[in-house]
């Protein structure tokens, strides 16, 4: 019975991850043509016709390398912002009286009730030169003229931090909530003041949650398409946006596929690292 249960996620992965990935990999090895489908077949005239030409193009053209680097940097800063905002939130919820925790967690997840697109558009309303924030700062006399925060790279980072914050709060909360209260009591009993209890006991024991939350934020943030499209200007060529353009504007499916493959390979690195650290980190981080 147990052995069969493993088959469920395995089947899911084959159908919705391995299959599509192999299709993309196949397309990435062919060349773009005008036609239907818009790429050459992998096997033609009785032989293998695939090549790594598209991957070579990616490395040669600075645009793609820059887009990847910019995406990684933006995802990293959003992840960091999520940790800095999310940890205190999770900590406060975990420390709240028991009957408050469920409602507070529900509040964290509440934005999901509204459409993601509407929420991002709302940010445009808040951040644009005639928007709420600009008007508020002007009326307070902090700035003179209208403030143009959107479109900007800052707005993208802000939007992604906002979007992914719950994915950081929930795993950190879960790991904080699991910490035996006797451990912090023991630290206090042994002479640790509250700040030291946090640094020496609470924080290290909650790192697995921080690590999980960082993956949940970083991985989708790297490939994020909607937020940079709406809040970012032409100055933020994020990889998700570039893939979109290659697919739909340039109709260069093979190149877009190659970009997707490279992105996936890049994201596999932090996941693999986290996995290796993961088993011992549950208890083993110092």
């Amino acid at each position: 019975m147990r052995r069969w249960l493993v088959g469920v996620p395995a089947l899911w992965l084959v159908a919705f991850f391995a299959g599509p990935f192999l299709l993309i990999l196949k397309v990435s090895l062919s060349q773009a043509v005008v036609g239907q489908p818009p790429f050459t077949p992998l096997f033609a005239d009785g032989g293998f016709r695939g090549s790594l030409v598209n991957f070579a193009v990616l490395l040669e053209d600075e645009l793609y390398v820059e887009a990847i680097l910019a995406s990684l940097a933006l995802a990293a800063s959003s992840t960091l912002a999520c940790i800095l905002l999310g940890y205190p939130m999770a900590w406060a919820i975990a420390g709240a009286p028991k009957y408050w925790r469920a409602p507070l967690l529900a509040l964290v997840a509440l934005p999901f009730v509204t459409s993601f697109l509407i929420r991002v558009y709302a940010w445009i309303g808040l951040l644009r030169p005639t928007g709420f924030l600009s008007a508020l700062l002007q009326s307070l006399g902090i700035i003179d003229g209208p403030l143009a925060l959107v479109p900007s790279t800052f707005a993208v980072a802000l939007g992604m931090t906002y979007t992914y914050l719950p994915f950081m709060v929930l795993p950190i909360y879960a790991s904080l909530e699991k910490i035996d209260p006797a451990l912090t009591a023991a630290a206090a009993d042994l002479g640790a003041k509250p700040g030291r209890v946090f640094w020496s006991v609470t924080l290290p024991l909650s790192l697995p949650g921080v690590l999980a939350g960082s993956l949940f934020v970083f991985v989708p943030a790297v490939g994020e398409f909607v937020v940079p499209e709406l809040l970012g200007g032409p100055g933020t060529p994020m990889i998700g946006k570039v893939i979109w353009q290659e697919f739909f504007n340039n109709r260069d499916w093979p190149l877009a596929s190659a970009l997707a493959v490279v992105l996936l390979a890049l994201l596999a690195v932090p996941i693999a690292l986290a996995q290796r650290a993961g088993a011992p980190t549950a208890e083993g981080l110092r």
Partner: protein, 357 residues
């Protein structure tokens, strides 16, 4: 002069409307092995948390060697606690666990290493320094918890049900080990337990708590041989109870028990007047087989063989039932259905007033 004398004065702690501790007062001598014994809900755990500083009392005072501790936070008290779950830091090695409290005092370098090594030797933890808590056994984890709490050389060590999580063999071994540690260190040990055997076996003095009040404080022998109330007599060990009325006072107290006639008992501290209802308490092992003081004939109704001893259930006149034990030196002393004579010395019969009625 020995250190670690704890004074608890009229301590009250309420949770909502419930007084978990109700004006509790007791003194713990410096360097003694003291047990706080009680059933769950007796307030012993609350008292432990108040002494450690995890809770603040509603009223009353706790003082250690004359210094008031009542409002002090846990980290500022010269008191350390061995947690029931041990509460070892899972992300630290055994050595770092033991060093944790010392580092908070600013100890470092050679001095720290020496103290940690000393504690590890004292608790026989050699070779485990770099292990993590999940890599050691339950017995070892307990010794690490002890080493960690004792490393700071507290004036008073609190032990919260220290043997509850251990299996039987290990438990008896740890009892001896704790007595050895106490004798070697001279620190005041305060054991909190619901297990009377544990309290009687280890402590010099035992405080029995009942519903937030002190039921009796004394040596283990005081509590077993001279319980001051029916509640204490019932909680500590096993006891046979017979209801009757005082029929006469004098050298021995005469008690009239329906169906048994008049029996002789040890006079209580406050001797109840003639006619008052009382209960006679008789420890099972004090009943003799054969003629003597308070001799009565009885029928053996049940024999339970326990190896080293057997338990006999006896039916006396008037529906009185007694339970007694005999060591099995030459096999069982009686068989079911047998008619025998039993007796008990007047001094073995404890008297408890049962109030008017």
């Amino acid at each position: 002069m020995k250190q670690g004398a704890l004074a608890v004065e009229s301590l009250t702690k309420r949770y909502g409307a419930v007084a978990v501790l109700d004006g509790l007062g007791l003194d713990i001598d410096a360097g003694s092995f003291f047990a706080l014994l009680g059933a769950s809900g007796s307030g012993k755990t609350t008292l432990l948390r108040l002494i450690a500083g995890f809770e603040v009392p509603d009223s009353g005072r706790i003082a250690l060697d004359g210094a008031d501790l009542t409002g002090a936070p846990p980290y500022a008290r010269p008191v350390n606690l061995v947690f029931q779950s041990y509460a070892l830091f899972p992300h630290m090695t055994v050595a770092d666990n033991i060093a944790f409290g010392l580092r908070r005092e600013g100890m470092a370098g050679v001095e720290l290493d020496r103290r940690v090594a000393e504690m590890m030797a004292l608790l026989r933890l050699d070779g485990l320094a770099v292990r993590k808590p999940r890599q050691i056994s339950g017995g070892q984890a307990q010794r690490v918890a002890l080493a960690r709490a004792l490393a700071k050389r507290p004036k008073l060590l609190l032990l919260d049900e220290p043997l509850a999580a251990l299996d039987r063999g290990l438990r008896e071994h740890m009892r001896v080990e704790l007595k050895r540690l106490h004798a070697a260190l001279g620190t005041t040990f305060v054991l909190v337990t619901h297990d009377q055997e544990e309290a009687l076996a280890m402590a010099d003095r035992v405080a029995l708590l009942d519903q937030g009040r002190l039921a009796q404080l004394g040596t283990p022998e005081d509590l077993y041989e001279r319980p001051t109330s029916l509640a204490v007599a019932r909680f500590i060990g096993r006891i046979n109870l017979m209801e009757g009325r005082v029929a006469g006072t004098g050298e021995a107290l005469l008690v009239e028990i329906p169906g048994l006639g008049t029996v002789r008992a040890r006079p209580a501290i406050a001797c109840p007047p003639v006619g008052d209802p009382v209960a006679i308490g008789l420890r099972p092992e004090k009943i003799d087989f054969g003629d003597g003081d308070n001799a009565r004939s009885a029928t053996v109704t049940e024999v339970t063989y326990l190896g080293d001893q057997s338990v006999y259930r006896l039916a006396l006149g008037g529906g009185v039932e007694l339970r007694t034990t005999r060591p099995n030196r030459d096999g069982p002393a009686a068989r079911p259905g047998e008619r025998i004579t039993v007796s008990w010395p007047a001094t073995a019969a404890l008297i408890f007033p049962t109030g008017a009625g």
